[in-house]
Symmetry: C2
Subunit: 593 residues, 2 copies
């Protein structure tokens, strides 16, 4: 962490613990910070005094008037030290420490606050449970890695904002006490005291408000917005999370993409990485075919190939019957995977079965020959076709799945990720961005069998696809796009419906009649009546972005005060019970079930 501003002098310090160097030699300075490490070398005390900006060595010899205080100062005591900056003798200089050329000969030490012994050592390697870290988050955040994460998160938000301000976006704060609307997940709600039995909802996203802002002529909106979802939590989910939320008027998909690409370039430039734009784009249908997942990690080239053509006259019943029934045969190559044992192959087979496949066909190519339990069912032309299509070389293995396309894709997608995990191919690049475009507008709800939106009820059909709404709604492509980074869905957005008849037609397909549309989405459809401009936007997960940049698997490491997976804050002990008076004022009673 570098000190960009030299004037952080306050009543209690003249400098920070990160800024002194040889040029300050001879000056009398006052520092304040924490006793990070203390050593006694032949009767001389050395204290590493730490603050956010660095560490400075403080020295007190046995004759020093401050020796006694220095001796009594325990770990994490808050100290104020006045003394002379002196050059360390050449051999003692520490080149690995920005302040390593100097030390402070203390003439005055004040204990500003003592500390109890810590419940754990402030070290990455102390093996502390996350539960303990979260309970004592104020100590956990003193760890350099965590402090760096917080500072980087802050600084990158400045980069994000200044980039968007530079494009004349305005940040508009949308309400957090708003109305419950069915947008997929469960809402957190807030009981109203004034209106018995009524509730506000915390927003799952500012979606409707940002669209209304476009209708109010705001032209270009953004917000680092707090979103809330009352869902079961996982390591990459929190009940509240932050999103870089954007919306623009008079745009198409490409306009939004260019703005986002510029934003990502700016963010990654800040950490010293140059990324190239425009990002690759893939159709949703292609991405499912090639990678079996809608957020492929394109750091790895590995692709799924369709072999239906190769096996169209196959004598292997598993293949021929699948193909006859409208299914597909698809394959993926595992480079150097011929070394996999029979046991490995069984595990991979179990993996694809757990995703719904009936089985997995595998072939190893070893010493110029194929080997496989199912080799006998394959002809020479089929094997040679496979070898060519997948560019199979000595030591590789091939995995085939025969199934309905909607089963083959996720099975081979999961297999692809497992192969990457096991074979650890060298990534082709550090940061692999990708646009996935043109998701289907609608899909059948698994439970009710009715049409529902795949991503967002406000997404517009792709121009030219509107006609299919009447004849073939399940195959209407949409203006919905996802931004993927290194296999993580970083953002999701679309060009929206701006015409009320079109929006109502889509709601109609989802089973909402006019009255229900008015009740559930009244604000936005009413606004469409009065000159709504064409518009589109995106929401980018800020916690995820920072998590990827900081190289952590858990977004809890980039959130100052996160919740556990059961939704608790172990430090503040939220949530907690209310007293009867508060409940009564809110017209509420707790039920036992």
């Amino acid at each position: 962490m570098t000190t960009t501003n030299p004037s952080k002098a306050t009543a209690l310090r003249t400098h920070t613990c990160g800024e002194l160097n040889a040029s300050h030699a001879g000056q009398t300075v006052t520092l304040a910070g924490w006793n990070d490490v203390k050593r006694n070398h032949g009767g001389v005390l050395f204290i590493n005094l730490r603050d956010l900006y660095g560490v400075t060595q403080v020295v007190a010899g046995p004759e020093s008037p401050v020796f006694k205080t220095a001796e009594e100062a325990k770990s994490e005591y808050v100290l104020r030290v006045t003394g002379k900056v002196t050059l360390r003798p050449g051999t003692n200089a520490n080149k690995n420490m920005p302040t390593g050329e100097i030390e402070i000969e203390a003439s005055e030490i004040t204990v500003l606050n003592p500390s109890q012994p810590l419940p754990f050592e402030l070290s990455e390697h102390a093996g502390v449970s996350e539960e303990t870290r979260l309970k004592y988050r104020f100590l956990d955040l003193r760890m350099p890695r965590m402090a760096r994460n917080m500072v980087l998160r802050s600084r990158l938000s400045q980069v994000v904002r200044n980039y968007l301000y530079g494009l004349d976006f305005n940040e508009v704060e949308t309400p957090l006490l708003t109305r419950s609307t069915p947008e997929g997940a469960r809402d957190f709600v807030v009981p109203s005291r004034n209106k018995a039995g009524e509730f506000y909802a915390l927003p799952q996203s500012p979606q409707q408000f940002k669209q209304v802002l476009m209708m109010s002529g705001m032209d270009r909106y953004f917000q680092l917005a707090r979103n809330f979802r009352d869902e079961e939590l996982r390591s990459d989910r929190q009940p509240e999370h932050t999103q870089i939320d954007m919306e623009m008027s008079f745009v198409n998909e490409q306009d939004v993409a260019r703005v986002v690409e510029g934003l990502m370039k700016a963010v990654f430039a800040h950490i010293g990485d140059e990324i190239s734009a425009p990002f690759p784009e893939l159709e949703y249908s292609d991405v499912m075919l090639k990678y079996g997942i809608d957020k492929p990690d394109l750091r790895y080239a590995l692709e799924i190939k369709d072999c239906s053509e190769i096996f169209k006259t196959s004598g292997f019943k598993v293949f021929s019957e699948t193909l006859a029934g409208g299914g597909v045969v698809r394959a993926i190559k595992g480079e150097k995977a011929a070394a996999f044992s029979r046991g490995d192959m069984d595990k991979l087979t179990d993996l694809v079965k757990s995703r719904g496949a009936k089985g997995l066909v595998w072939l190893r190519f070893k010493e110029g020959k194929w080997e496989s339990p199912t080799l006998k069912f394959m002809t020479e032309p089929e094997l040679s076709g496979l070898k060519t299509l997948l560019d199979v070389n000595e030591g590789d293995a091939v995995f085939l799945a025969a199934d309905k396309p909607e089963v083959a894709a996720p099975c081979l997608g999961a297999l692809r990720l497992e192969l990457i995990a096991r074979l650890k191919p060298a990534p082709a690049k550090k940061w692999a961005f990708l646009w996935v475009r043109h998701f289907p507008l609608l899909e059948k709800d698994a439970e009710s069998g009715a049409w529902t939106f795949t991503h967002n009820p406000f997404t517009a059909p792709l121009p030219g696809e509107e006609g299919k709404l009447d004849t073939d709604p399940g195959n209407v492509l949409s203006c919905q796009y996802d931004l993927v980074l290194n296999g993580v869905e970083l953002g999701s957005g679309s060009v929206r419906n701006h015409s009320r008849p079109m929006q109502e037609k889509i709601f109609g397909l989802m089973g909402y009649d006019k009255e229900q549309v008015q009740r559930r989405f009244g604000m936005i459809v009413n606004a469409m009546d009065f000159g709504a401009p064409p518009h589109g936007g995106i929401g980018i997960g800020y916690d995820r972005l920072i998590g990827i940049i900081c190289g952590t698997d858990s977004i809890r490491d980039v959130i100052a005060f996160p919740k556990t997976t059961s939704g608790s804050c172990l430090m503040s002990e939220a949530p907690s019970i209310l007293d009867e008076k508060q409940l009564k004022e809110l017209h509420l009673k707790i039920t036992e079930d």
Copy 2:
């Protein structure tokens, strides 16, 4: 609104409606925007096309292929216009319009979206009720004044952030789902689905988290933070509001003041106003004496004077008995207020009586002579003493209140504001900032009679005052300060307790035993055990600041989607009822009372 970035070209426009001028003459351009005004001059149609950035005149002659579309376009239709930029003939140029030198000869007009007739005219002078404006907020925000407010609010937040980043502050997002703590106002709460009967609270401020951040070594924190209070609303209150929240380690009151003054200089420089710093500082006790209110509007010099000395031997019973009982006689001058009628004087008397005064003594100085119903009770030396003390001149009036100091102060404070409102003195400056310092640490709770904090339970006593905690708690001065601008309390902050024993002693005076402190404030006192640094900070009301700068009395005019005074959003119709399933999941039942 000026266009700072020229490249807002998108798929649907080459330029905005605010950027074309004579230098573009001859170019073919495409604009998109709203039909703001349409006129027909001798068969030629003129459309003022509007977007956020400005208005451009579009022309379609009777022979034009686009005439028919132009003719059919009604008010607020969204249009896309392609045409040639042409210079307006000299006499037709409009110097008051940034694009007034040119117009667009339309060769193509597309209706991107029609509009229903608006429910009200988009004009400041249309006399629309606020209720209608809030219901159709998406139209209200199209008004130039409202759009300007939103853009300025956005841009000033950038100024705020960049200033603070420049001083190495980091913005840290603190949780919104947190724990209910007694900090004055009522909390909004959020029922937990996972933990039956438990609730999160929305924060009234990030107070405890920002202090914990200091204890975690964050050094300098800020956040444009959303705060929530479930209180009765007024025009300057909203259930959610935004605060520039800051905290710094190793500081005293003056360090915080310098940072805030620099921030205000930066903000006002952005609107072209230079303000001088450091700001004046007044002790709380002085400010109550001189202005009768803790947030005086110092644009006006008018001061309250103590006349107890003048009347110490008064024969006027009202005065002598008050003084004998430990009360005071204080006076304020109304310049040119001798013109006030007897009726006016009665109204002013009613005003101070409504604030608890027993009455109001007034004297007019007209044609060199005093006149007053109570003149007969005053001696010549008293009158001349009054004249000198208050610098009374021909045509002035003097108002006196005799009462206990704690009654006299607010009564004359209210009178001072009323005199300013009636006499409309010229303000001495446009922006009058003031620090009010050293509020009492504790006061008696009006209901319970117990000691409670005056501003903030975490405020430290003023150094040197600690001893009085044991002997005279009501007179302990604190490190609490308020920032006042033009008579509005803009911010409030303090240097905090960093020592657990001191914090517990103060909680003890408020009647909390150790167990209660642990239960209610466990997070912060626990953190104090492990090396909490001295720290202080402030929270500045961002809505209020922007309201003052935009010159509006209602903060609703600077919030995109505000609530009414009954806490409703008329546009989204929040709050609303939940369905039974949701309530059941939350383990809640609505009670009838």
